[in-house]
Assembly symmetry: C2
Homo-oligomer: 292 residues x 2
Amino acid sequence: MSGRRRHNRKITTDVRVGDCRELLVSLPDNSVDLVVTSPPYADQRKTMYGGVHPDQYVDWFLPISEQLLRVLKPTGTFILNIKEKVVNGERSVYVLDLILKMRAQGWLWTEEFIWHKKNCYPGKWPNRFRDAWERLLQFNKNRKFHMYQEQVMVPMGDWANSRLKRLSVTDKTRDSSKVGSGFGKNVSNWVDRDKAYPTNVLHLATECGNRSHSATFPTSLPEWFIKLFTQEGDVVLDPFMGSGTTLIIANRMRRNSIGMDTAPEYCEMVRKKLNSVDLYLCEPEMDYESLG
Amino acid sequence: MSGRRRHNRKITTDVRVGDCRELLVSLPDNSVDLVVTSPPYADQRKTMYGGVHPDQYVDWFLPISEQLLRVLKPTGTFILNIKEKVVNGERSVYVLDLILKMRAQGWLWTEEFIWHKKNCYPGKWPNRFRDAWERLLQFNKNRKFHMYQEQVMVPMGDWANSRLKRLSVTDKTRDSSKVGSGFGKNVSNWVDRDKAYPTNVLHLATECGNRSHSATFPTSLPEWFIKLFTQEGDVVLDPFMGSGTTLIIANRMRRNSIGMDTAPEYCEMVRKKLNSVDLYLCEPEMDYESLG
DNA sequence: AGCTCTTATGAATCATTGA
DNA sequence: GTCAATGATTCATAAGAGC
């Protein structure tokens, strides 16, 4: 766990140009710890990915998910960020259909996280409110998988904060005066509880890191799942890399990663960003935590 | 809009004992403006009252939704509160299946609201976080339906929320003691200023209105949808009444309503509560707004 | 009034036992 | 072995009392 040993291990960050339907075939079986990706939504970004019609979306995605099932380790996890479009005033059902067919492929639909977008897209319609959430579908190969819950614990609410503050000023001194009173054990229970486990609802604002790119995938989203489902040295895969948010944060967290994208200009951009990040990581005194 | 005219119209609140699969047949076509209900969730235990096995859930519900489709007005809305259980470490898919089959019945799946439960059930498991959200599925008969968005506009920003919340608990009682003090006008000033349209994510804590009954959703949940999808004098239907939260709030908001439940003791309890509410409504100076 | 502290409670999951 | 029932476990809120 020392900083020196961590930096002695070589971390690879692999950017591949091409269609993941072809590139995934070259990856070995059971080699990836976490797949986290946000594929192009149906009929969106036509020019970049050729656009997939909602009716064809499931058939287009199933060969990809089949490859992902193959390359994922038995203890690994697949996080799929997706949200169905409104078509003719109705929510499309291709996401529901996809879940059912991926289960038929062998995936377990373990959980559905909700990403609550606090600053969602503006707009007003007569019979619809703004869409402020997206699905984060968790799939696994087995019921048992790696999950490092303590890595994503969050600070507790205000009442606990104030209570802890009070403990730290009065009760701690009282404890030091009464030796072995047993009260210290209670204090340590409270002190240990300064962080709480999250739920399956994630509150994150959308970020617009790069103005030239339309995707609003915030850095904290892949970061959260990488913390939760991988350790240092593990392998993260994003078959729809886009601007490379997942790869860059994986590199910064010292996870090996593979990213794929059909657009050469995106791949080149990500490579450049990675090079500058690598410079930071080569500094022996720099740590991920200090970059956080 | 005057209080006098509103109270001249007779509002009926109809509590019927029995299984809604049988009772719904007697309702006329196209007679209901809003169905809002929270049916018993699927349960592994076969023998338990109200429990339906996950594998049988869709077949059990489809005849009911067929009747609901018949009795709903063309401009009406059906709100279904539901959440799938975890079975063998995996999320069940009967809700997804139900959506697909209800569409085949003729329903439009217009929207999926998220109810974010701020105080969710406790628990800790090695490979799962606590479940903090439920689905609020919106179904319609037609693409055009009645929606009164301005009725559910919310104050902007947290500072306004906390201020309004305090008003609702302390200043409300003060207002009832000081008749016509003019303070109520200040409240409405706050409400009129800086309002924003909500999104499709609802933040509500679970409430337990009645101690003797375990499964109630909070009053504000049906209240929100009744505001959004009905006007005074419209008809609200809850085929799984339970403790009657929906009926009582509908009565208070001067909507006609029909509630059904197989348990006579629940029906009797709701009737008693309705009688006491009616007494309040008979007072000419009382208004829905002052009841909060 | 504001702040602190107490306490009640919530549509849950999982592992184990028994049929 | 499969299926069903039971018990233990769990924790962040918010309402309410108290100062």
